[in-house]
Structure formats: structure tokens, C-alpha cells
Symmetry: C2
Subunit: 708 residues, 2 copies
Amino acid sequence: MKRLFLIAALVGAAPALADEGMWTYNNFPSAKVKEKFGFDPSQAWLDKVRLSSARMAGGCSASFVSPNGLVMTNHHCARGCIEQLSGAKKDYIANGFYAKTAAEETQCPAMELNQLVQITDVTATLNKATQGLTGKAYNDTLKAKMSELEQTCSAGDAKVRCDVVTLYQGGQYNLYKYRRFQDVRLVMAPEHAIAFFGGDPDNFEFPRYDLDVTFLRVYEDGKPAQMDHYFKWSDKSVKEGDLTFISGHPGRTSRKLTIAELEYQRDVAMPKQLFLMSELRGMVTEFQKRGPEQKRISNNLLFGVENGLKAIKGRLEALQDKTFFAQKVAAEQELRKKVESNPEMKKKYGAAWDEIAKAEAQFVHVRKDLAYMEGGSGLSSSLFSIAKTLVRASEELPKENGERLREYSQAGLPALQANLFSQAPIYPELEILRLSFGLTKMREELGSNHPFVKKVLGKESPDKLAARLVKGTKLCVLKDVKGSKVCDVSVRKSLFDGGKAAIAASKDPMIQLALLVDGDARTIRKHVEENIDAVIKKNSELVAQAKFDTYGTNQYPDATFTLRLSYGSVKGYMEDGKQVAPITQMAGTFEHATGEDPFALPPSWLKSEKLIDGTTAMNMVTTNDIIGGNSGSPVINKDGEIVGLVFDGNIQSLGGEYGFDEASNRAVSVHSDAIIESLKKIYGATRVLEELRPGSTHVPPAKANPAG
Amino acid sequence: MKRLFLIAALVGAAPALADEGMWTYNNFPSAKVKEKFGFDPSQAWLDKVRLSSARMAGGCSASFVSPNGLVMTNHHCARGCIEQLSGAKKDYIANGFYAKTAAEETQCPAMELNQLVQITDVTATLNKATQGLTGKAYNDTLKAKMSELEQTCSAGDAKVRCDVVTLYQGGQYNLYKYRRFQDVRLVMAPEHAIAFFGGDPDNFEFPRYDLDVTFLRVYEDGKPAQMDHYFKWSDKSVKEGDLTFISGHPGRTSRKLTIAELEYQRDVAMPKQLFLMSELRGMVTEFQKRGPEQKRISNNLLFGVENGLKAIKGRLEALQDKTFFAQKVAAEQELRKKVESNPEMKKKYGAAWDEIAKAEAQFVHVRKDLAYMEGGSGLSSSLFSIAKTLVRASEELPKENGERLREYSQAGLPALQANLFSQAPIYPELEILRLSFGLTKMREELGSNHPFVKKVLGKESPDKLAARLVKGTKLCVLKDVKGSKVCDVSVRKSLFDGGKAAIAASKDPMIQLALLVDGDARTIRKHVEENIDAVIKKNSELVAQAKFDTYGTNQYPDATFTLRLSYGSVKGYMEDGKQVAPITQMAGTFEHATGEDPFALPPSWLKSEKLIDGTTAMNMVTTNDIIGGNSGSPVINKDGEIVGLVFDGNIQSLGGEYGFDEASNRAVSVHSDAIIESLKKIYGATRVLEELRPGSTHVPPAKANPAG
């Protein structure tokens, strides 16, 4: 595949023509959209779209699609829930799920949805607080002030979540206030075989034929939540050339990083991550051969690893592209030259790039320690994470809010507790594999003589230690509830409520390990935060301000898993000298089926082939600027109606981490027509259909499911 | 670990002071050794050392250590044989092996040793033949002339092997004539646990405590081969500061590659290889958990993968070191500037670097096709390789010698047949894993729509196809011989003897697959050989000649798995600011034991701890310049006597692929004293001891084995 990285606008200046940008809702370039597409999104339009959009706390996007709290997202965004609700004898991943009645809608053990209700600019407040500070003082003050703002905002209401969001690498700070939905139930999911048709080989590719959709419902006080704002379903099929908006939560881009930061990503961070993930992939692939239940419980992990591998490889290739990287270097040099030529700017910003480079160079020496002692690379176990959270909560919660580690601040507590007390099952066999793998890597990367390695392993092997810890802990006692496994979390609750005394008295081996390593973990984290992160943050703020001063404020910030709006249109592209059409048809799905996983269609599709209109649009590509985290985002038209559902980007879009190339960077979506056609003719999901398009079905709800 | 790459001499000029160089025997810098160490190796000395050295065709080094054909090498070099001779009930890898009588010495199913008996410079002959030629004509002529020289040299004698060796990237061609030993028997091997004590975590590290030794014996006509030349065992323990020589077969270095070639290695080849190997490592690690027999049959593969991973990661880090790479760039620029400033040189050599760069850029576009269609990345199966060899032999052997693919030339036939008819067992379960893995990668890398992928997979999944092929082929029918599995190779023999007709009539699925893909495989190979390799070869010759013209001929060529001699001394080094002592003691082995693999000592060691003199030297480091392939090389003193056995390099030595840094680059060896002490007190291997040091044992051979 030939990859082009001819970036329209690499520096801060707003792109002139390209459909570039993951725009914040308080800085959307409506004028630009009007100029190119003749449609001028009003503030009311923007507000409505924002309030109809949803964030999935686990790292995806979604949308409200009915007044009764119906939510649409991707199957791969709800996989965790679908898998958790499954058991050896009712495999919803393999067979799909459909709640024929409201009573059958089943709660996801660990899912939270957020709706962005307010954005407030708090840049001035924070800048004033940290003025003149550096290092530890800067870091402590910034952290304390952020926690204070968040606490004031949420005011102890567990239904509210407030985050101070760092935008433009610190050039701007906004306070985002969310309404939280913690009772999320599964309504309808197709079979994995069609949701992820083509599997890893076709992931990030186009043409595609996936029905990567799942419907959920948010509940409040045991009843479907009533939504003032939601997206209606469009009656008109979106076509080539039509204007499209995508409202969602791109997770991260690195378009505004300095060259030193990009070099670190290219030469150290990404290769190391890829080696680790490749090995884990091989291990889990082979683990799946232990048996069907092992396959079932590890599918989600394997999907995540494979998806991540392909995404990171794409990003690495982008940075290894010499022409592209040279453009990045030239853009930085141009900005630095402008700064140098202006005495006032030079004084304020001139040293920032070299300071960041020095901090990056220092980080290389401690990155392994940080990853294995404080990060999750070595003690790579959900059970250990729970133990660590319990140990730290007992230390942190008695402290003043502003003095706590960031993730234990008052505003974040409801989310932390929701996570901590989630009953989502943790399977010992897979957990041992993951932990043993992490311990082996820890010994390999830090060396068998590293004091931390000796402390953790003692005279045990990674396999033996992992097995002893996982089998010995009571942090998840698996029990059967209606044929599904869930964790009994009573031990977690009593340890959390019991605080320091309970933790100290605990004989649980995971708690004891978390206690054993906590001092070392805190030490390395503190070192990095105060001596490296603080330097990078402070100087990144300066670089951002230099860009504002030089190129103006009509820019979008790098993605930060906060709500963004992008605009574009349905449009094909050239690949290897051939034109790729922007829309595929349902008939193509059958043509590509081989009968063998991952190209095997589920029985429901095979038996419905003749019922389906093969010319129905299946998947499509649009020029919208998106990135990982946008999965599950609604594609809407200018009337704010659903015309599609983002589920991927093409392989060329992976370089979007570092810059947008309108020539070939494409968002890949399920066309709304395919969703309707399959709900109607394959799944007979009349309840859902009726809710999406009231009056569109003529079958009484009672016998709504001809296929089931 | 801090890594320094301050290279004494990056360009062609001979290093002034450092113990750098893997010298050919016909260009050894005796004068330089004399200047630094006061010893002047004579031609007779060099001849004796050369003839006492041995090459293991599988990719290691060895030495003759008695007049009766006793051979010393590493345990890890003989692993393949030890594993092949083992069975579920007699695991020589785990328990070691000792032939108490001559009759118990057991033939290795697939091992060949070579002794270098003659070197002839054929540069002028080849240059004359290819003068003025380029592309296909250059390639065909070079290949034909090489085959002709080799055939004339070996003259049909199966006991002789002749190779035209390309040195200095084509600056020189030498004809190497070897005496072949194909009957190699296992004499004594310690347990894997002590041979590879510390396992992968300690691999490429120092201090070390490994007894990585194995004794073999070469036979001729069913009797121990009588050797005119062999190394005597030194009576004197080698000590810090002593002069040491290492004679062995470094596999490959890339010190003289151009920047374009190094960049390709750094940015494409090595990362891709590491991703692949990491994944395979994870898979095999988990495969080992299927059971003890699966662990046993896959240990060798896992060792190879882990060893390779660590080695390549070290090399990649070297090339990613900015200071080091800048030195390489500067050296090339210096040479190019000299060439540019001399009109005659400019005309002859000026374009060479850019031509190589262009060819490398082209190669990027076809590397995947080459790797998966002709290379072994996709059809990664020993059984497929055998099928491919049979199919190609039927095509190639009827051709004129000069027109055949290189590996089917007359001179190479004995080695090819030895390989093809080796009875070394191939285990279906592991074979299916390897092949399925390769097929999955092929689909992933080439894409599921690639015509070759479609041709190979059809509508089958990689797992299913791999299982069908491996279970269906008769190219290795496993049978039991004295408790070991071996392949019945009669089908291979009849297909080989039956030629094209037999191949065409074969219903064997591996043969049919090999036939199916052979056209595509040949096409891509031919394309690369004629349009890319030929350009690189031709222009590399020019670069080499430019170096000779500029810096003189007192240089050593890059390693090419041909016999080299390096000099140096026993010497510690600085690491992370601490001095590392050059010699460890046997007592340290016990101190580092944890009881858990890979730090678990075998029972024989545990029960002999008190018998051993703990102050006996165990492992040591020397400044000799070596690289992978040198494993098993003898370390000798100026009297040409054994003082150690190379088994590794330290982690800093991995950058030796691209340049030698005497400050920290070290060869790691088993000290000869540890070999004697353990043969005597742990293994009671009196037969071997008596042969190494006649008269040194006073126990009659009949009750020679107190431990066994």
C-alpha cells in the first residue's frame, strides 16, 4: 500500500481547504464549514449535537438515539460487556444478543456513559495559580488547583463528573462537566462474526463489510433514562459527496508534539510497545487453543491487542516516513525561527524546545523503571490493579483533596469506586497468563539483579508467583449468577471501608504485594512527575502559547478523549493507483464470505441472504478527521440525523496521529441503511427499529422476532 | 545499561590500538599483534590453528581437541542433535549425556563439520568474467563462474566442499576448500540447566556461570577420524591480562554497509523481524504449557527465537544510538568527499552510494513479496522446505551447472543431499503451529486479497490448511529407533531419484503446494536478484574498491561465516559506572541458584558442591572481536592451546554488528578450568578428560563414572 503524507497544515495555522480538525465544541469553525459546504452550524445546532453525543468511560464514543435512553455504539465498544454477560453455555459474542422485551435488557457489569453538559474555560485561573512556579511546586499547585475546580464543579453529586481538561498541550485548560450514567444495559448485539467480519486481516482496511453495531440503554433509578436530546434517524440515505459530521471522542493525537517528543515515540516508545504486544498476541493466540472456554474468555484481550498492534504499526510507519518527518522538522524550525526573531517571544518561549528535549532524554533512562514499578507493564493483572487501588485509597483518601494523587481526588471518586466494585468477572486462568507474562518481561527488561525484581520475585519463577497470587487472592471470588460468572466483591468493599487498618491486617497475597511495592512505585512516579513531566508540561504550555502568538487561536487542540466535532463528506480515495469507491453494498458481504473464520458469516446472515436487498449500502468512508476513541461515534447529516456509525479508520488514517492527509485519510462507518436492513430482515429486532424510526414497523411488538 | 559506541575506526583504515578485527587467515596482522603483545604469529602457527578449527554447517564454530577426532563446541550449538537423540523417556537435554564407552557415542542425525584446508584468491578471475556487465548479465555470469570454480575445486569428491566466498562486499572473492565430516557423534553433554544457567534473562549478560560445552567426535568410515592437527589443552590457567586468540566463524557483521543499507536495517528489516519473532516467542512459550513432551520438542525453537530476539534488539539499539549513527554518516561522507575530489575515483566510484540507495528504496516495495513467496516467512515449515527442495531439485539438476539456482550447483550437492535426507525428527504438532503462524502472517502482511495468499489459502483458514498439509504429507514418517523418534525418509529418496516425473505424479500435499507456488516464488526471486541484488553487489564492489584505494588493504572484511582469527586479552570493563571483573568462579554458580528455572542447578551439581574447588575460574570475558556464529570457538593462548570456549558476547557486544568498541565489547567464554573441574568432579567423564589431558586421570576407565 502506498502511503502519502502530504500534510496540508503541519504548523498551528488553520488548514485552508482540507476537512481537517477534531474541533472542540467551544471553538468550532462554522464559518469555514459554511464556506466549503454552504451550511452554517448554529450554536443551538452545536448544543443539540453535543448533548446527543455520549462518551463511554472505557474509551469509546456513542450516541443517544431515542428519547428513552437508547444508545448506539460499536459492537467492539460493548464487547467487554457482551463477554462479561456470557457464560460457557450462553455465548452472546458468538450468537449475538437481543432483548425481546424491556425486562430482558441486561445490565453491563462495568460500563459508564457520560454526557457533556457544560464547558468552562479555566485557563486564566490555573495560569494565575502556577505563575512563576517550576518543578515540584508547579506540579503540586497545578494538581491541587485542578482538583479544587473539579470538586467545586461536581459538588459531591455522584451523578456528575467534572474533569479539568488540558488542551493545546497546556495552552488552554477547560473544565468539562458530565452527566454520568452508570446503569447501562445491553439491548441488542449482532454476532461477532458479522460485527468483525474479516477480523484482524481486514481491520483498518477498506472496502469493508462489517455490522459493527450494538444498542444499549441508559437507566436511571431502574427506569430508562429520559433524554431531552437525542439523534433522530435520517430518512434519507447518505450518498457520495454529502456533508457529514462526526461527534465523538478521539482518544489521542500527537500532531503538536515537538520533534524531540516524536523521536522518542518513534525510536523508543512505539517499538518497545510493539515487541511486548506482539509477544502477548502470540501467547494469547496459542492460549485460545486450550479449549473453547479459554477462547471465549480471551477473545476480548486478543482483539484489543491485535487492534492496538495494527494501529501502532501504522503510526510508526508514519513517523518513519522520511518525507513526512522532514515536514514536521521544517515546521518546528519555522516556528522556532519566528520566535528567535522576536526578542519578546524569544525571551518567553525560546528555550522551551530544548528543555523538552532534555527532559525526554532523561526520561529514556527511567522509562523502564516507571513502566514496571508504577505502570502496569510488569504487574499486569486486573486483580493486582484492584489491590493497588485499595492500598492507595487507604493512604490517599485521609489526605486533603489537593494533596492526593490525581486519580484519588474527590471529583474522581465515584468513577473510581464504580470501577473498583465492578462485578465484571476476572478469570484466573487468563489472569495467571497475563501476570506471568508481565513478570517475565519485568525480569527481562529490568534484569534479574534489579532490586525491584528481586523484591517481587524472591526465589519464585514468574509462573509460580503468578499462580500463587491469583489463586490465593479473594479480591474476585467468582460466582454464578443466571449462568454468567460475576465477581463477589465483598472483600474489596470491606478493605475499602476498613481503610489503613484493614489493609495492614489483610493476609490477601495481592494486597500484600501491593503494599510491598507501593513505596518504590510512588518514588519513581514522583521523580518522573516532578523532574520530567513538570518540565515537559510547563514548556509545552510555552510552545502552545508561541503557536497562538504566531498563528492565532483558530486551531484545534490535539485529541484528548474529550468530545470533538469533525466535518467532511462521503468520498472515495486512490490506493495503489486505483480508485476506491466510498460505499460498499450488502451483497459484497456474501461475496467475501469463505466459510472460515474470520470470513465466515453467522447462520442468521446465511439464511437471510435472499430476504436482503443486496444493493443496500453496507459500509462507507468519509473525509472526517477522526482517530481511535471515535469508535461508536454517530455520523450525522446537517439536520443532525443519524446517517452512519463510525467503527474504524482506513490504514492511511493511522498516520492521522501526527497529521491529516485529506487525500487518503478516511473514517470508516457502518451505513445507516445496513443497520435498518439487518435489524429488520435478519434480526427482526422490531423493538429497536420502532424506537429508531417510530412507525416504521408494522408488526405488533408481541411477535416481533421472526428470526428468533 | 549505558552503551557507548565510540568506534576506534569506522572507516576502512586499520584500527591503531583496539583489539579490533575478525581477520581472515590470509591477511592476519601479525605485526600489529607483535607490536602490542610481543608475540608474532608465524605462518606455521596460523596454519596449525586454522586446521585445528572447525565449522559447524548449522551455524556455529568448534575445534578439534584430540588426535582421535574429539570436537569441542557449545551445548547450544549441539542442542539440535541432543534434542533429536532424545525421546519422551530419555531426555538428554534435561539430564545430559555421557558415552561411557566408545560404543555409546551416538550419531547426530543432521550434523556436519568442516575443516578449512585451503584458501585461494579468485578475485581477478571473477572480475575479469564480469567486466562491463550489469543486471541480469552480471548476475548470471558471476553465478556461473562461481559454480564453475567450486565444481573444479571439489572435483566430485563428496568429502570436499568448496565455496566461493564474497569478502569486502565484493571487493575480494576467495575460494575456500573444506574437508567435510558428516558422521558426527555425541560424546558428552551436561544438563541444559547448567549449560544455559540463567536462561534468557542472563543471556548476553556478564557476570555469568554457564557450562555451555559439549563434546562430539568426527568419524570417518565408521572409525574416529584421525586428525593431524588439533588443539592441546593448556596446563596453565589463563589470567587477567593474558593474550588470547579466538578462531571461529563469525556469522555476519554489517560494518561496511552504506548508510542507505543501515537505514533499511534500522527502520524496516529489524523492527519487522522483531515483531514476528516476538509473536512467535509468545506462541511457543504458551505451546510449551500443553505438556512436558511439547515443552521438550519446542525448547530448541524457543531458545533460538529468544536468543535471536535479544541479539537483534541489541543491534537495533546500536543503530538507534544517534551519536553512533552520526559517526557512521560522517565516515561515509568523508570517503565520498575523497572520492569526489579525485576525478579518476569519482568516475569509477562516485555513483555507487546513490545506486545502492536507489536499489534499497526499490527493495522496500518488494520485500514482503520476497519474504512470503520465496523466503520462509509464510510457508514456515521444515516439511515444506523439504518439498520445495525436492521440487526444485527436479527442475534444477537436469540443467547445466552454471545455469542452476546457486544452491543446486554441483559443488553444494553433497551438503544439500545430507540435509534433505537427514532423519532428524519433525514433530507434527510443532510443525502445524509454525506453519499456521507463518500462513497467518502471510495473510496479514500481504493482505487477504493478494493473489498469492488466495492461491495458497483458498477458502481454508491457516490452522486448517497447516493441519491438513502436515498430517497429509509423507515426507517425514516418524518411527521409533531405540526410544528416539526419527524420520523415515524413503519417500523423499524416491521423489529425489524419480525426478520431474515422480514429482509431477506425487499426491503428497506438501509437494503439490510446493509445485503450486514455485512459479511465483521463482519470479519474485529472479526480479530481486537481477534488478536489486545485482545492483547492490556491483556497487558494493565499487565502494569496497574505493576503500582499498583510499585506506589501503590492511583491513578485515565483514564477517561472512567463514573462518576468522581475532586477538585480544582477558580484561574487565566498566558498566553503569562499576568495574566488572573479567573472571567468575564456580562458587558463584551456587550463589546465584534459586532453585527455580532458569536459575535451578541440576542434581549433579547440587550433590557435588562440596567436591568442587569453589575458586576455580568459571566464565571469563576477553576483548576479542567476535559475533554470533563464533559460538563454540576455542579460546587459545600463544602456544595454540585451549584456555577457554566462547559461548556468548556481552550485551555491549551486540553493537559489534556495526562497529567495535574495545571499552566494553567483550567475548564471553567458559574458562578451561571449569570444564576440567566439572568433567572430573561432577560428571566423572574420565574418557573425555584423559583424551583432553592424557595422563591426567588416575582412575581406570571401567569405573569412570562415579556420578552416573
